[in-house]
Protein backbone atom coordinates (compact mmCIF):
# COMPACT_ATOMS: atom_id res chain seq x y z
CA UNK A 1 0.00 0.00 0.00
CA UNK A 2 1.44 3.36 -0.88
CA UNK A 3 2.51 5.70 1.85
CA UNK A 4 1.87 3.40 4.75
CA UNK A 5 3.65 3.61 8.02
CA UNK A 6 3.40 1.25 10.90
CA UNK A 7 1.64 2.21 14.07
CA UNK A 8 4.42 0.31 15.82
CA UNK A 9 6.99 2.97 14.96
CA UNK A 10 4.65 5.66 15.80
CA UNK A 11 2.45 5.08 18.69
CA UNK A 12 2.80 3.30 22.03
CA UNK A 13 3.95 -0.10 20.91
CA UNK A 14 7.67 0.42 21.31
CA UNK A 15 9.81 0.04 24.37
CA UNK A 16 11.25 3.53 24.25
CA UNK A 17 8.51 6.12 24.72
CA UNK A 18 7.84 8.96 22.30
CA UNK A 19 9.49 11.87 24.10
CA UNK A 20 7.53 14.37 22.04
CA UNK A 21 4.24 12.97 23.30
CA UNK A 22 2.49 15.08 25.91
CA UNK A 23 1.47 11.93 27.82
CA UNK A 24 5.10 10.84 28.11
CA UNK A 25 6.21 14.27 29.28
CA UNK A 26 3.51 14.38 31.96
CA UNK A 27 4.38 10.88 33.13
CA UNK A 28 8.07 11.74 33.48
CA UNK A 29 7.22 14.84 35.53
CA UNK A 30 4.78 13.02 37.79
CA UNK A 31 6.92 9.92 38.39
CA UNK A 32 10.08 12.00 38.84
CA UNK A 33 8.45 14.17 41.48
CA UNK A 34 6.78 11.25 43.22
CA UNK A 35 10.14 9.52 43.60
CA UNK A 36 11.65 12.73 44.97
CA UNK A 37 8.81 12.85 47.47
CA UNK A 38 9.56 9.32 48.64
CA UNK A 39 13.24 10.09 49.01
CA UNK A 40 12.36 13.18 51.03
CA UNK A 41 9.97 11.14 53.16
CA UNK A 42 12.75 8.71 54.03
CA UNK A 43 15.01 11.43 55.34
CA UNK A 44 12.73 13.42 57.63
CA UNK A 45 11.16 13.00 61.03
CA UNK A 46 8.38 15.62 61.14
CA UNK A 47 5.75 17.20 58.90
CA UNK A 48 7.33 20.66 58.92
CA UNK A 49 10.66 19.17 58.01
CA UNK A 50 8.99 17.25 55.18
CA UNK A 51 7.58 20.45 53.71
CA UNK A 52 10.94 22.21 53.73
CA UNK A 53 12.76 19.19 52.41
CA UNK A 54 10.30 18.84 49.52
CA UNK A 55 10.58 22.50 48.62
CA UNK A 56 14.36 22.40 48.62
CA UNK A 57 14.62 19.13 46.71
CA UNK A 58 12.03 20.21 44.25
CA UNK A 59 13.77 23.52 43.59
CA UNK A 60 16.88 21.61 42.63
CA UNK A 61 15.09 18.76 40.84
CA UNK A 62 12.77 20.77 38.55
CA UNK A 63 15.45 22.46 36.41
CA UNK A 64 17.18 19.12 35.94
CA UNK A 65 13.93 17.38 34.95
CA UNK A 66 12.86 20.14 32.60
CA UNK A 67 16.26 20.37 30.90
CA UNK A 68 16.24 16.62 30.53
CA UNK A 69 12.79 16.78 28.89
CA UNK A 70 14.01 19.47 26.53
CA UNK A 71 17.07 17.46 25.53
CA UNK A 72 14.98 14.33 25.06
CA UNK A 73 12.51 16.26 22.94
CA UNK A 74 15.30 17.51 20.69
CA UNK A 75 17.06 14.13 20.48
CA UNK A 76 13.89 12.07 20.20
CA UNK A 77 14.14 11.16 16.50
CA UNK A 78 17.82 10.27 16.93
CA UNK A 79 17.19 8.14 20.03
CA UNK A 80 14.34 6.28 18.36
CA UNK A 81 16.71 5.12 15.63
CA UNK A 82 19.17 3.55 18.10
CA UNK A 83 18.78 -0.02 19.38
CA UNK A 84 16.88 0.01 22.66
CA UNK A 85 19.79 -0.67 25.04
CA UNK A 86 22.03 1.91 23.42
CA UNK A 87 19.26 4.51 23.62
CA UNK A 88 18.56 3.61 27.26
CA UNK A 89 22.26 3.86 28.11
CA UNK A 90 22.49 7.22 26.37
CA UNK A 91 19.52 8.51 28.33
CA UNK A 92 21.00 7.41 31.67
CA UNK A 93 24.32 9.07 30.78
CA UNK A 94 22.51 12.21 29.70
CA UNK A 95 20.65 12.44 32.99
CA UNK A 96 23.90 12.01 34.93
CA UNK A 97 25.55 14.64 32.76
CA UNK A 98 22.77 17.16 33.19
CA UNK A 99 22.71 16.60 36.96
CA UNK A 100 26.45 17.07 37.11
CA UNK A 101 26.15 20.22 35.02
CA UNK A 102 23.56 21.73 37.33
CA UNK A 103 25.50 20.80 40.44
CA UNK A 104 28.56 22.50 38.96
CA UNK A 105 26.53 25.58 38.02
CA UNK A 106 24.61 25.67 41.30
CA UNK A 107 27.77 24.99 43.32
CA UNK A 108 27.21 26.09 46.89
CA UNK A 109 23.45 26.11 46.41
CA UNK A 110 23.52 22.34 46.16
CA UNK A 111 26.12 22.04 48.90
CA UNK A 112 23.90 23.91 51.36
CA UNK A 113 21.12 21.43 50.82
CA UNK A 114 23.03 18.19 50.57
CA UNK A 115 26.32 19.02 52.20
CA UNK A 116 29.54 18.75 50.26
CA UNK A 117 31.72 15.70 50.08
CA UNK A 118 32.88 13.34 47.40
CA UNK A 119 30.25 10.88 48.55
CA UNK A 120 27.46 13.44 48.08
CA UNK A 121 28.68 14.07 44.53
CA UNK A 122 28.57 10.38 43.81
CA UNK A 123 25.19 9.96 45.47
CA UNK A 124 23.71 12.71 43.32
CA UNK A 125 24.89 11.03 40.11
CA UNK A 126 23.66 7.68 41.34
CA UNK A 127 20.22 9.09 42.13
CA UNK A 128 20.00 10.68 38.69
CA UNK A 129 20.97 7.41 37.02
CA UNK A 130 18.46 5.45 39.16
CA UNK A 131 15.66 7.88 38.42
CA UNK A 132 16.21 7.52 34.67
CA UNK A 133 16.52 3.78 35.10
CA UNK A 134 13.24 3.57 37.00
CA UNK A 135 11.47 5.72 34.41
CA UNK A 136 12.84 3.71 31.51
CA UNK A 137 11.78 0.48 33.18
CA UNK A 138 8.36 1.95 33.79
CA UNK A 139 7.94 2.93 30.12
CA UNK A 140 9.23 -0.44 29.01
CA UNK A 141 6.77 -2.17 31.30
CA UNK A 142 3.96 0.12 30.13
CA UNK A 143 4.66 -0.57 26.47
CA UNK A 144 4.55 -4.29 27.18
CA UNK A 145 1.38 -3.98 29.23
CA UNK A 146 -0.35 -1.83 26.68
CA UNK A 147 0.34 -3.96 23.65
CA UNK A 148 -2.02 -6.81 24.59
CA UNK A 149 -4.59 -4.13 25.31
CA UNK A 150 -4.02 -2.78 21.84
CA UNK A 151 -4.53 -6.23 20.41
CA UNK A 152 -7.63 -6.77 22.48
CA UNK A 153 -9.07 -3.44 21.52
CA UNK A 154 -8.37 -4.17 17.90
CA UNK A 155 -10.21 -7.47 18.11
CA UNK A 156 -13.07 -5.84 19.90
CA UNK A 157 -13.06 -3.02 17.41
CA UNK A 158 -13.14 -5.53 14.59
CA UNK A 159 -16.43 -6.85 15.81
CA UNK A 160 -18.03 -3.53 16.41
CA UNK A 161 -16.63 -1.75 13.41
CA UNK A 162 -18.86 -3.33 10.85
CA UNK A 163 -22.22 -4.25 12.26
CA UNK A 164 -23.61 -7.64 11.31
CA UNK A 165 -26.82 -5.74 10.67
CA UNK A 166 -25.04 -3.87 7.87
CA UNK A 167 -23.42 -7.00 6.43
CA UNK A 168 -26.61 -9.02 6.15
CA UNK A 169 -28.75 -6.16 4.93
CA UNK A 170 -26.17 -5.34 2.27
CA UNK A 171 -25.96 -8.92 1.06
CA UNK A 172 -29.73 -8.95 0.92
CA UNK A 173 -29.74 -5.76 -1.14
CA UNK A 174 -27.12 -7.10 -3.52
CA UNK A 175 -29.11 -10.30 -3.96
CA UNK A 176 -32.08 -8.15 -4.90
CA UNK A 177 -30.28 -6.54 -7.82
CA UNK A 178 -28.29 -9.56 -9.03
CA UNK A 179 -30.97 -10.55 -11.52
CA UNK A 180 -32.02 -7.15 -12.77
CA UNK A 181 -28.83 -5.11 -12.56
CA UNK A 182 -25.84 -7.46 -12.51
CA UNK A 183 -23.33 -4.65 -13.09
CA UNK A 184 -24.50 -2.67 -10.13
CA UNK A 185 -24.37 -5.84 -8.06
CA UNK A 186 -20.75 -6.36 -9.16
CA UNK A 187 -19.73 -2.89 -8.02
CA UNK A 188 -21.51 -3.36 -4.71
CA UNK A 189 -19.71 -6.65 -4.07
CA UNK A 190 -16.36 -5.07 -4.93
CA UNK A 191 -17.06 -2.26 -2.47
CA UNK A 192 -17.94 -4.80 0.15
CA UNK A 193 -14.73 -6.73 -0.47
CA UNK A 194 -12.62 -3.58 -0.02
CA UNK A 195 -14.43 -2.69 3.15
CA UNK A 196 -14.00 -6.10 4.71
CA UNK A 197 -10.39 -6.43 3.58
CA UNK A 198 -9.66 -3.34 5.63
CA UNK A 199 -11.83 -4.42 8.54
CA UNK A 200 -10.19 -7.82 8.71
CA UNK A 201 -6.66 -6.45 8.39
CA UNK A 202 -4.56 -6.28 11.53
CA UNK A 203 -4.96 -2.53 11.70
CA UNK A 204 -1.24 -2.04 12.25
CA UNK A 205 -0.58 0.15 9.27
CA UNK A 206 -1.49 3.76 9.11
CA UNK A 207 -3.30 4.73 5.94
CA UNK A 208 -3.49 7.97 4.03
CA UNK A 209 -6.50 10.11 4.61
CA UNK A 210 -7.32 9.84 0.91
CA UNK A 211 -7.50 6.08 1.22
CA UNK A 212 -9.69 6.22 4.33
CA UNK A 213 -12.05 8.67 2.63
CA UNK A 214 -12.30 6.40 -0.42
CA UNK A 215 -13.23 3.52 1.84
CA UNK A 216 -15.81 5.65 3.62
CA UNK A 217 -17.32 6.58 0.27
CA UNK A 218 -17.57 2.90 -0.67
CA UNK A 219 -19.27 2.20 2.60
CA UNK A 220 -21.72 5.04 2.06
CA UNK A 221 -22.51 3.91 -1.48
CA UNK A 222 -23.48 0.50 -0.07
CA UNK A 223 -25.76 2.15 2.46
CA UNK A 224 -27.11 4.27 -0.34
CA UNK A 225 -27.98 1.10 -2.25
CA UNK A 226 -30.21 0.05 0.62
CA UNK A 227 -31.64 3.37 1.64
CA UNK A 228 -31.81 5.21 -1.65
CA UNK A 229 -32.66 8.90 -1.44
CA UNK A 230 -33.19 8.72 2.30
CA UNK A 231 -29.45 8.96 2.81
CA UNK A 232 -27.87 12.28 1.83
CA UNK A 233 -24.19 12.98 2.41
CA UNK A 234 -22.37 16.32 2.40
CA UNK A 235 -18.58 16.17 2.32
CA UNK A 236 -16.39 19.11 3.22
CA UNK A 237 -12.89 18.18 2.06
CA UNK A 238 -11.67 21.55 0.84
CA UNK A 239 -9.08 21.87 3.61
CA UNK A 240 -8.26 18.18 3.85
CA UNK A 241 -4.59 17.14 3.56
CA UNK A 242 -5.04 13.99 1.43
CA UNK A 243 -1.60 12.62 2.28
CA UNK A 244 -1.92 12.80 6.07
CA UNK A 245 -1.73 9.47 7.88
CA UNK A 246 -4.42 8.13 10.16
CA UNK A 247 -5.23 4.79 11.80
CA UNK A 248 -7.42 2.75 9.45
CA UNK A 249 -11.18 2.64 9.89
CA UNK A 250 -11.42 5.70 12.06
CA UNK A 251 -14.00 7.41 9.89
CA UNK A 252 -16.10 4.43 8.82
CA UNK A 253 -17.43 3.48 12.28
CA UNK A 254 -18.42 7.10 12.87
CA UNK A 255 -20.40 7.05 9.64
CA UNK A 256 -21.91 3.69 10.45
CA UNK A 257 -23.15 5.08 13.73
CA UNK A 258 -24.51 8.15 12.03
CA UNK A 259 -26.43 6.03 9.54
CA UNK A 260 -27.70 3.52 12.07
CA UNK A 261 -28.83 5.97 14.75
CA UNK A 262 -29.35 9.16 12.77
CA UNK A 263 -30.78 8.21 9.38
CA UNK A 264 -32.38 4.78 9.59
CA UNK A 265 -34.94 5.74 12.24
CA UNK A 266 -36.16 8.62 10.05
CA UNK A 267 -38.77 7.68 7.46
CA UNK A 268 -37.95 10.75 5.38
CA UNK A 269 -34.20 10.24 5.84
CA UNK A 270 -31.66 12.95 6.50
CA UNK A 271 -28.24 14.42 5.86
CA UNK A 272 -24.87 13.33 7.21
CA UNK A 273 -22.29 16.11 7.17
CA UNK A 274 -18.64 15.19 7.18
CA UNK A 275 -15.86 17.74 7.55
CA UNK A 276 -12.14 16.93 7.49
CA UNK A 277 -9.48 19.60 7.86
CA UNK A 278 -6.02 20.26 9.24
CA UNK A 279 -5.40 23.12 11.61
CA UNK A 280 -2.25 23.95 13.55
CA UNK A 281 -0.61 20.55 13.16
CA UNK A 282 -3.82 18.82 14.20
CA UNK A 283 -6.25 16.86 12.11
CA UNK A 284 -9.96 17.40 12.69
CA UNK A 285 -12.65 14.91 11.71
CA UNK A 286 -16.25 15.82 12.31
CA UNK A 287 -19.38 13.81 11.57
CA UNK A 288 -22.81 15.29 12.14
CA UNK A 289 -26.16 13.56 11.84
CA UNK A 290 -29.76 14.35 12.79
CA UNK A 291 -30.56 13.54 16.42
CA UNK A 292 -33.64 11.36 16.46
CA UNK A 293 -36.10 11.28 19.35
CA UNK A 294 -35.20 7.71 20.14
CA UNK A 295 -31.47 8.39 20.21
CA UNK A 296 -32.07 11.49 22.32
CA UNK A 297 -34.06 9.47 24.84
CA UNK A 298 -31.83 6.44 25.13
CA UNK A 299 -28.57 8.35 25.12
CA UNK A 300 -28.00 7.37 21.54
CA UNK A 301 -24.78 6.21 19.98
CA UNK A 302 -22.67 6.61 23.09
CA UNK A 303 -22.04 2.98 23.78
CA UNK A 304 -20.99 2.07 20.26
CA UNK A 305 -18.56 4.95 20.10
CA UNK A 306 -16.72 4.12 23.31
CA UNK A 307 -14.73 1.69 21.20
CA UNK A 308 -13.38 4.47 19.01
CA UNK A 309 -12.57 6.57 22.02
CA UNK A 310 -10.64 3.69 23.53
CA UNK A 311 -8.71 3.15 20.33
CA UNK A 312 -7.85 6.83 20.14
CA UNK A 313 -6.54 6.93 23.67
CA UNK A 314 -4.46 3.81 23.09
CA UNK A 315 -3.02 5.22 19.90
CA UNK A 316 -2.51 8.85 20.83
CA UNK A 317 -2.75 8.89 24.62
CA UNK A 318 -3.74 12.38 25.77
CA UNK A 319 -3.04 13.95 22.40
CA UNK A 320 -6.32 12.86 20.88
CA UNK A 321 -9.51 14.76 21.59
CA UNK A 322 -12.95 13.32 21.32
CA UNK A 323 -16.03 15.47 21.70
CA UNK A 324 -19.72 14.75 21.31
CA UNK A 325 -22.22 17.57 21.12
CA UNK A 326 -25.96 17.31 20.87
CA UNK A 327 -27.77 20.46 20.00
CA UNK A 328 -30.42 21.86 17.70
CA UNK A 329 -31.53 18.37 16.79
CA UNK A 330 -28.13 17.24 15.62
CA UNK A 331 -25.52 14.88 16.95
CA UNK A 332 -21.94 15.86 16.30
CA UNK A 333 -18.84 13.73 16.88
CA UNK A 334 -15.61 15.66 16.63
CA UNK A 335 -12.21 13.97 16.72
CA UNK A 336 -8.88 15.76 16.84
CA UNK A 337 -5.64 13.83 16.41
CA UNK A 338 -2.05 14.87 15.77
CA UNK A 339 -1.41 15.57 12.09
CA UNK A 340 1.00 12.92 10.81
CA UNK A 341 2.62 13.48 7.46
CA UNK A 342 4.46 10.68 5.68
Amino acid sequence: MPGTRSIKQNIPYRLLPDFRNLGTVLRILVVGNLLALFVALMRVTSFSELGQRMLLDSALLQPILLSMLLVLYLLDRRLQRLPYWQAAGAIVLLSVGITWGYAWLGGSLFDEVHGSSAFVEWRRMLLAASLSGVLLTYFRWRARAMSPALQGARLQALQARIRPHFLFNSINAVLAIVRAEPRRAETALEDMADLFRMAMGDGHDLVTLKHEVLLAERYLSLERLRMGERLQVHWDKTRMPPGALIPPLLLQPLLENAVYHGIEPLAEGGVIEIAIYAEERRLHLSVRNPLTDKAAQTGGNHLALSNIRERLSLLFDVEAEYRVTRQDGSYDVHIVIPLLQP
Binding site: F168, I171, N172, A173, L175, A176, R179, R226, G228, E264
Partner: protein, 261 residues
Protein backbone atom coordinates in the same frame (compact mmCIF):
# COMPACT_ATOMS: atom_id res chain seq x y z
CA UNK B 1 -60.58 -27.82 4.85
CA UNK B 2 -62.97 -26.37 2.34
CA UNK B 3 -62.77 -25.01 -1.17
CA UNK B 4 -61.17 -21.69 -0.14
CA UNK B 5 -57.88 -23.58 -0.17
CA UNK B 6 -57.84 -23.39 -3.92
CA UNK B 7 -57.79 -19.58 -3.89
CA UNK B 8 -54.31 -18.14 -4.16
CA UNK B 9 -52.76 -17.16 -0.86
CA UNK B 10 -52.60 -13.38 -0.54
CA UNK B 11 -49.27 -12.08 0.69
CA UNK B 12 -48.35 -8.51 1.70
CA UNK B 13 -44.77 -7.25 2.03
CA UNK B 14 -43.54 -4.59 4.48
CA UNK B 15 -39.95 -3.34 4.49
CA UNK B 16 -38.44 0.14 4.50
CA UNK B 17 -35.76 -0.87 1.99
CA UNK B 18 -37.07 -1.01 -1.58
CA UNK B 19 -34.47 -3.60 -2.57
CA UNK B 20 -35.43 -5.88 0.29
CA UNK B 21 -39.03 -5.74 -0.94
CA UNK B 22 -38.07 -6.51 -4.51
CA UNK B 23 -35.92 -9.42 -3.34
CA UNK B 24 -38.93 -10.86 -1.49
CA UNK B 25 -41.12 -10.41 -4.55
CA UNK B 26 -38.58 -12.28 -6.69
CA UNK B 27 -38.49 -15.12 -4.21
CA UNK B 28 -42.27 -15.27 -3.88
CA UNK B 29 -42.43 -15.46 -7.67
CA UNK B 30 -40.13 -18.44 -7.46
CA UNK B 31 -42.42 -20.04 -4.87
CA UNK B 32 -45.32 -19.81 -7.26
CA UNK B 33 -44.25 -22.93 -9.11
CA UNK B 34 -45.21 -24.94 -6.07
CA UNK B 35 -47.76 -22.90 -4.20
CA UNK B 36 -50.51 -20.67 -5.46
CA UNK B 37 -49.95 -17.24 -4.08
CA UNK B 38 -50.36 -13.63 -5.00
CA UNK B 39 -48.54 -10.57 -3.76
CA UNK B 40 -51.41 -8.19 -3.06
CA UNK B 41 -49.35 -5.21 -2.06
CA UNK B 42 -46.30 -3.77 -0.36
CA UNK B 43 -45.50 -0.92 1.99
CA UNK B 44 -42.40 0.94 3.10
CA UNK B 45 -43.55 1.61 6.65
CA UNK B 46 -45.81 0.24 9.34
CA UNK B 47 -48.35 3.05 8.92
CA UNK B 48 -48.55 2.64 5.16
CA UNK B 49 -49.02 -1.10 5.62
CA UNK B 50 -51.86 -0.53 8.07
CA UNK B 51 -53.64 1.81 5.66
CA UNK B 52 -53.29 -0.54 2.71
CA UNK B 53 -54.26 -3.65 4.64
CA UNK B 54 -57.39 -1.89 5.92
CA UNK B 55 -58.47 -1.52 2.30
CA UNK B 56 -57.28 -4.87 1.01
CA UNK B 57 -56.69 -7.44 3.72
CA UNK B 58 -54.09 -10.14 3.11
CA UNK B 59 -53.72 -13.58 4.63
CA UNK B 60 -49.99 -13.40 5.21
CA UNK B 61 -47.91 -10.36 6.06
CA UNK B 62 -44.13 -10.53 5.71
CA UNK B 63 -42.71 -7.67 7.73
CA UNK B 64 -39.26 -6.35 8.56
CA UNK B 65 -38.75 -5.61 12.24
CA UNK B 66 -36.53 -2.54 12.34
CA UNK B 67 -38.31 0.23 10.43
CA UNK B 68 -38.57 3.97 11.02
CA UNK B 69 -41.67 5.04 12.90
CA UNK B 70 -43.81 2.02 13.60
CA UNK B 71 -41.71 -1.14 13.70
CA UNK B 72 -42.76 -4.62 12.58
CA UNK B 73 -43.80 -5.90 15.96
CA UNK B 74 -46.00 -2.93 16.66
CA UNK B 75 -47.55 -3.30 13.21
CA UNK B 76 -48.38 -6.92 14.07
CA UNK B 77 -50.12 -5.78 17.25
CA UNK B 78 -52.30 -3.30 15.41
CA UNK B 79 -53.10 -5.79 12.64
CA UNK B 80 -54.37 -8.18 15.28
CA UNK B 81 -57.39 -5.91 15.70
CA UNK B 82 -58.58 -6.63 12.18
CA UNK B 83 -61.62 -8.91 11.91
CA UNK B 84 -59.48 -11.53 10.25
CA UNK B 85 -55.94 -10.91 11.46
CA UNK B 86 -53.26 -11.99 8.99
CA UNK B 87 -50.53 -14.48 9.78
CA UNK B 88 -47.37 -12.51 10.43
CA UNK B 89 -43.92 -13.68 9.40
CA UNK B 90 -41.11 -11.45 10.62
CA UNK B 91 -37.99 -10.87 8.57
CA UNK B 92 -34.81 -9.48 10.03
CA UNK B 93 -31.17 -9.12 9.05
CA UNK B 94 -29.72 -9.24 12.48
CA UNK B 95 -31.45 -8.61 15.72
CA UNK B 96 -30.30 -10.87 18.49
CA UNK B 97 -32.90 -9.54 20.88
CA UNK B 98 -35.82 -10.27 18.58
CA UNK B 99 -34.51 -13.63 17.43
CA UNK B 100 -34.10 -14.79 20.99
CA UNK B 101 -37.62 -13.66 21.82
CA UNK B 102 -39.03 -15.42 18.76
CA UNK B 103 -37.24 -18.65 19.61
CA UNK B 104 -38.69 -18.61 23.10
CA UNK B 105 -42.22 -18.13 21.85
CA UNK B 106 -41.92 -20.30 18.75
CA UNK B 107 -42.78 -17.40 16.44
CA UNK B 108 -41.83 -17.86 12.81
CA UNK B 109 -39.18 -15.52 11.46
CA UNK B 110 -36.90 -15.37 8.44
CA UNK B 111 -33.31 -14.23 8.53
CA UNK B 112 -32.09 -11.98 5.74
CA UNK B 113 -30.69 -12.78 3.25
CA UNK B 114 -33.73 -14.98 2.92
CA UNK B 115 -33.40 -18.41 1.33
CA UNK B 116 -36.04 -19.62 -1.06
CA UNK B 117 -36.43 -22.90 0.82
CA UNK B 118 -37.05 -21.20 4.17
CA UNK B 119 -39.53 -18.77 2.66
CA UNK B 120 -41.38 -21.57 0.94
CA UNK B 121 -41.56 -23.51 4.20
CA UNK B 122 -42.90 -20.52 6.14
CA UNK B 123 -45.45 -19.64 3.45
CA UNK B 124 -46.72 -23.20 3.17
CA UNK B 125 -47.21 -23.39 6.90
CA UNK B 126 -48.98 -20.02 6.97
CA UNK B 127 -52.38 -21.32 5.93
CA UNK B 128 -52.69 -23.44 9.02
CA UNK B 129 -50.91 -21.06 11.35
CA UNK B 130 -52.71 -19.41 14.23
CA UNK B 131 -52.37 -15.62 14.48
CA UNK B 132 -50.05 -14.45 17.23
CA UNK B 133 -51.65 -13.41 20.47
CA UNK B 134 -51.63 -9.70 21.20
CA UNK B 135 -50.28 -10.24 24.72
CA UNK B 136 -47.32 -12.16 23.33
CA UNK B 137 -46.57 -9.36 20.90
CA UNK B 138 -46.91 -6.81 23.67
CA UNK B 139 -44.13 -8.55 25.56
CA UNK B 140 -41.90 -8.37 22.50
CA UNK B 141 -42.03 -4.59 22.25
CA UNK B 142 -39.49 -3.23 24.69
CA UNK B 143 -40.31 0.43 24.23
CA UNK B 144 -43.48 2.44 24.10
CA UNK B 145 -45.54 2.06 20.91
CA UNK B 146 -45.44 4.94 18.45
CA UNK B 147 -49.18 4.59 17.78
CA UNK B 148 -52.37 3.60 19.52
CA UNK B 149 -55.03 2.02 17.38
CA UNK B 150 -58.79 2.01 17.37
CA UNK B 151 -60.96 -0.63 15.74
CA UNK B 152 -63.86 0.83 13.78
CA UNK B 153 -66.08 -0.89 11.23
CA UNK B 154 -63.63 -3.68 10.55
CA UNK B 155 -60.72 -1.30 10.12
CA UNK B 156 -57.77 -0.41 12.28
CA UNK B 157 -57.21 3.32 12.69
CA UNK B 158 -53.72 4.25 13.83
CA UNK B 159 -53.42 7.24 16.16
CA UNK B 160 -49.94 8.75 16.39
CA UNK B 161 -49.10 9.14 20.05
CA UNK B 162 -47.82 12.69 19.55
CA UNK B 163 -51.30 13.72 18.30
CA UNK B 164 -53.00 12.56 21.47
CA UNK B 165 -54.12 15.41 23.74
CA UNK B 166 -55.65 13.37 26.50
CA UNK B 167 -56.79 9.87 27.44
CA UNK B 168 -59.90 9.40 29.54
CA UNK B 169 -61.20 6.16 31.00
CA UNK B 170 -64.88 5.50 30.49
CA UNK B 171 -66.40 2.19 31.55
CA UNK B 172 -64.33 -0.50 29.83
CA UNK B 173 -62.99 1.83 27.15
CA UNK B 174 -60.50 4.62 27.01
CA UNK B 175 -61.37 7.71 25.00
CA UNK B 176 -58.42 8.99 22.99
CA UNK B 177 -58.74 12.67 22.14
CA UNK B 178 -56.77 14.31 19.33
CA UNK B 179 -57.28 17.81 17.95
CA UNK B 180 -59.54 16.36 15.23
CA UNK B 181 -61.69 13.75 16.93
CA UNK B 182 -62.24 11.10 19.58
CA UNK B 183 -61.50 7.39 19.36
CA UNK B 184 -62.40 4.52 21.64
CA UNK B 185 -59.76 1.94 22.45
CA UNK B 186 -59.88 -1.15 24.63
CA UNK B 187 -56.94 -0.67 26.92
CA UNK B 188 -56.34 0.10 30.55
CA UNK B 189 -55.47 3.64 31.60
CA UNK B 190 -53.01 2.35 34.18
CA UNK B 191 -51.10 0.39 31.56
CA UNK B 192 -51.05 3.40 29.25
CA UNK B 193 -49.82 5.60 32.08
CA UNK B 194 -46.95 3.19 32.65
CA UNK B 195 -46.11 2.85 28.97
CA UNK B 196 -45.98 6.60 28.34
CA UNK B 197 -44.77 7.76 31.73
CA UNK B 198 -42.79 10.72 30.38
CA UNK B 199 -45.39 11.93 27.90
CA UNK B 200 -48.56 12.08 30.00
CA UNK B 201 -49.45 13.31 33.43
CA UNK B 202 -52.42 12.11 35.47
CA UNK B 203 -54.74 14.99 36.33
CA UNK B 204 -57.65 12.92 37.53
CA UNK B 205 -58.46 9.36 38.56
CA UNK B 206 -59.79 8.79 35.05
CA UNK B 207 -57.67 11.12 32.94
CA UNK B 208 -54.14 11.40 31.53
CA UNK B 209 -53.10 14.60 29.72
CA UNK B 210 -50.20 15.08 27.32
CA UNK B 211 -47.76 17.43 29.05
CA UNK B 212 -47.07 19.23 25.79
CA UNK B 213 -50.79 19.94 25.29
CA UNK B 214 -51.24 21.84 28.55
CA UNK B 215 -52.01 25.50 27.81
CA UNK B 216 -52.81 26.72 31.31
CA UNK B 217 -55.14 26.59 34.27
CA UNK B 218 -58.20 28.48 35.36
CA UNK B 219 -60.41 28.62 38.44
CA UNK B 220 -63.71 26.79 38.39
CA UNK B 221 -64.98 23.27 38.30
CA UNK B 222 -67.35 21.19 40.29
CA UNK B 223 -67.37 20.64 43.99
CA UNK B 224 -65.17 17.94 45.36
CA UNK B 225 -62.48 18.74 42.81
CA UNK B 226 -59.42 20.92 43.31
CA UNK B 227 -61.18 23.99 41.98
CA UNK B 228 -58.88 24.15 38.96
CA UNK B 229 -59.65 23.47 35.33
CA UNK B 230 -57.05 22.68 32.73
CA UNK B 231 -56.92 24.37 29.33
CA UNK B 232 -55.44 22.53 26.35
CA UNK B 233 -53.87 23.73 23.13
CA UNK B 234 -56.31 23.37 20.24
CA UNK B 235 -59.36 22.39 22.31
CA UNK B 236 -62.24 24.41 23.78
CA UNK B 237 -62.96 21.73 26.34
CA UNK B 238 -61.75 22.23 29.95
CA UNK B 239 -60.67 19.27 32.05
CA UNK B 240 -61.13 19.17 35.84
CA UNK B 241 -58.05 18.52 37.95
CA UNK B 242 -58.74 16.39 41.00
CA UNK B 243 -57.71 17.59 44.43
CA UNK B 244 -55.47 14.60 44.82
CA UNK B 245 -53.53 15.17 41.55
CA UNK B 246 -53.33 18.96 41.85
CA UNK B 247 -49.95 19.07 43.64
CA UNK B 248 -48.19 17.03 40.92
CA UNK B 249 -49.93 18.95 38.12
CA UNK B 250 -49.09 22.28 39.74
CA UNK B 251 -45.37 21.45 39.55
CA UNK B 252 -45.77 21.12 35.78
CA UNK B 253 -47.42 24.51 35.60
CA UNK B 254 -44.46 26.11 37.33
CA UNK B 255 -42.04 24.37 34.99
CA UNK B 256 -44.03 25.58 32.04
CA UNK B 257 -43.88 29.16 33.30
CA UNK B 258 -40.13 28.92 33.54
CA UNK B 259 -40.01 27.44 30.09
CA UNK B 260 -41.87 30.41 28.67
CA UNK B 261 -39.44 32.94 30.02
Amino acid sequence: MNDTVTLPLSVFIVDDEPLARSRLKDLLDDCRAQIELEVTGEAGSGIEALEKLNQHPAEVVLTDIRMPGMDGMELAMHLNKLDKPPVIIFTTAYDSYAVQAFEQRAIDYLLKPIRLGRLFEAISRARDAVPLRTEVLRELIPEARTHLSAHERGKVLPIAIEDVLYLRAEMKYVTVRTAEREYLIEESLTALEKEYATRFVRIHRNCLVAKSAIAGFEKGGEEGESGWLLRLHGLEERLPVSRRQWPSVKVLECMQDQGDQ
